[in-house]
């Protein structure tokens, strides 16, 4: 999947894939994101963790404008995110997203799920889109299910299809929002394996997850969020062995303690 990491038509050669500068967001009076500063280099793998409701999902969803921020600046692949719909769509084409609940399209087969965006957004001919989709489905080891509908697959299989669907757009960055937390334990590994491979191939990844094993193996940096703020960020080894803030320590002891 090295191709996915290098193929970035129309984007600048900036080394920074994602920049968030002083990003703030409110839901009414509720201040969800407070002064977020975050820089993600090309090829970097970031794991984001934190207690429920701390704003992790909101933060990564701001990157592809599934949520709108009210203050601050977000730049993706050198393109500043504005209100402009065309601009937003351009950024979304280069940012893949994997959701907690897969969000596959139930009325389309696995193959169609993967082809629909390449065909309709990138205007690829069907044959080409299908060939590419099959390639990615093979990489996530699910090619034999291509003709099935999402409802006929297990959760782990569905999530791997969702990853393949995103990869078919050749994204420069992949966002994962708790990709394994809706899965039964025996299916978590098959999804994490795919994600580890993706990381090893150099994909830029922002991953909200509580899979600390995954964070330790692949993350370049771990970010801890609480109450809409980035409390701590560090390489995995010092992050886990020597957390600085009390809240991080408490969180880690809760999550690793049981």
């Amino acid at each position: 999947m090295t191709q996915a990491a290098t193929n970035n038509p129309g984007n600048s050669t900036s080394d920074l894939m994602v920049e968030m500068r002083g990003v703030n967001k409110w839901y009414g009076d509720f201040h969800v994101l407070r002064d977020i500063y975050l820089e993600v280099k090309r090829g970097e793998r970031i794991v984001i963790c934190g207690p429920s409701g701390s704003g992790k999902s909101t933060m990564i969803r701001c990157i592809n404008h599934l949520e709108e921020h009210q203050k601050g600046e977000i730049v993706v692949g050198g393109v500043p995110l504005t209100q402009d719909v065309k601009r937003i769509e351009q950024i979304r084409r280069s940012v893949g997203m994997v959701f907690q609940h897969f969000n596959l399209f139930p009325h389309l087969t696995v193959l169609e799920n993967c082809c629909i965006a390449p065909m309709w957004v990138q205007k690829k001919p069907r044959k080409e889109a299908e060939a590419m989709a099959m390639q990615y489905l093979e990489r996530v080891r699910i090619a034999e299910q291509a003709k099935k509908y999402p409802g006929q697959l297990s959760g782990g299989q569905q999530q791997r299809v969702a990853i393949a669907r995103s990869l078919c757009m050749h994204p420069d960055v992949m966002l994962f929002d708790e990709p394994t937390s809706a899965l039964d334990p025996e299916m978590i590994k098959e999804v994490l394996d795919v994600m580890v491979e993706l990381a090893e191939e150099g994909m830029t990844m922002l991953c909200v997850t509580h899979e600390m094993g995954f964070a330790k193996t692949v993350a370049d940096r771990v970010i801890f969020m609480d109450q809409g703020q980035i409390i701590e960020e560090n390489a995995p080894e010092p992050f886990f062995n020597n957390p600085q803030s009390e809240r991080t320590q408490l969180f880690l002891s809760q999550i690793l303690g049981h």
Partner: protein, 366 residues
């Protein structure tokens, strides 16, 4: 959520080996109270069915040309027979009826083709039905081209007019309804309030009023040298009226689609219209088939109201025929016939929707 791929079809419970007697005993005659109810029910049924069958079939007269061919003991279907061509084509000139027949034949073949799943080229047939067929129908029915004599719309009537009103209403109301439903969910304030006002206006006004307004008031607003055909006015009124209802049905369907679907589509870079057209609407419309068909059925029956603005749909022409002095006193036959025709169409639609529902249910949902 692993669905078994070779799910076993549900089968009806095995029938009792003792057969009908056992069924009667367990279902109708188990205990004294049930027996009494069953007997009362059977008696009422007897009182209703026997005279009806006698009237409609046994004592009925079928052949002949005038009222003297009827014995007056049962139904006089001779009346329907004699007037059938009027009931179907209205006052369409009899020398030109072949034109209407071609349209009828195409209409039913197209519907059949689209309704029967096995037949291929659905997309092309649908495009033909929506674009080419209306043009052909108009040219054939109205004439004025290719040496076809013009048949003004006030001569159109009967079943032909009913089907025309219903079909145009349905085909027009669906897309307008979709646009209104999407508009009502939009977060652009102007679009949203326009759609809300539009929908609530049409839903709050009785169809009769709409038709009156279309026929009486519209000409007052238009410049006097501009006249819009009465049929066209009725069609516009009917379509707009139905599209408001359709919009509400579709909005219900849109609400039932999880938010994640649109988010996933958006995350892939799809534009609003692609998200709607490729992801949201196909799912919503599938779920909304029963609601949409219900709206269609009520529209089909509502077309009878055009009678009050002087158009002779199936019911209108039957009623007009009842006033014929040669056929006085056959109103029952006339109304039974009209009711039966309406029932056939509405019942077919309802059965087809049930069939579709079953098909989608056993298909690959979720």
């Amino acid at each position: 959520m692993i669905h078994n791929q070779t799910m076993i079809e549900q089968r009806p419970a095995p029938s009792s080996s003792v057969g009908a007697v056992a069924w009667l005993r367990t279902n109708l005659f188990n205990g004294p109270i049930n027996t009494i109810f069953t007997l009362i029910g059977l008696y009422i049924l007897y009182l209703l069915v026997v005279p009806t069958v006698q009237w409609a079939f046994i004592n009925a007269d079928w052949v002949g040309t005038t009222r003297d061919d009827c014995s007056r003991e049962g139904a006089c279907w001779v009346f329907i027979n004699a007037r059938l061509s009027q009931f179907i084509y209205g006052l369409y000139p009899s020398s030109e009826i072949w034109r209407a027949n071609i349209v009828f034949a195409m209409f039913f073949s197209l519907i059949g083709w689209l309704a029967i799943p096995r037949l291929p080229f659905k997309r092309w047939v649908a495009i033909f039905a929506l674009i080419v067929f209306p043009v052909i129908s108009f040219v054939l029915l109205y004439g004025g081209y290719f040496d076809l004599p013009k048949v003004p719309t006030h001569r159109w009537g009967g079943l032909m007019l009913t089907l025309l009103l219903a079909t145009v209403g349905m085909v027009g109301a669906l897309p307008i309804g979709i646009v209104l439903a999407l508009g009502r969910r939009s977060n652009m304030p102007i679009v949203k309030s326009f759609c809300v006002v539009f929908i609530e206006f049409w839903r709050g006004v009785p169809l009769i009023t709409v038709l009156f307004m279309a026929s009486v008031m519209l000409p007052l607003f238009l410049p006097s040298d501009m006249s819009v055909d009465r049929l066209v006015r009725a069609l516009i009124g009917l379509t707009l009226f139905q599209s408001a209802y359709m919009a509400e049905v579709i909005r219900g369907g849109l609400q039932a689609i999880p938010k994640g679907q649109e988010e996933a589509a958006a995350a892939l870079g799809m534009t609003y219209w692609k998200r709607m057209g490729l992801i949201i609407l196909p799912q919503a419309l599938k779920m909304m088939i029963p609601g949409i068909v219900n709206t269609f059925i009520s529209l089909f029956k509502d077309t009878t109201l055009v009678m009050i603005i002087g158009l002779f749909d199936l019911l209108g022409i039957v009623q007009a025929a009842l006033a014929d002095s040669r056929w006085l006193g056959f109103s029952l036959e006339g109304y039974v016939f009209a009711a039966f025709m309406f029932w056939v169409f509405c019942f077919s639609m309802s059965r087809y929707s049930q069939y579709l529902e079953r098909k989608l249910h056993t298909g690959h949902k979720r």
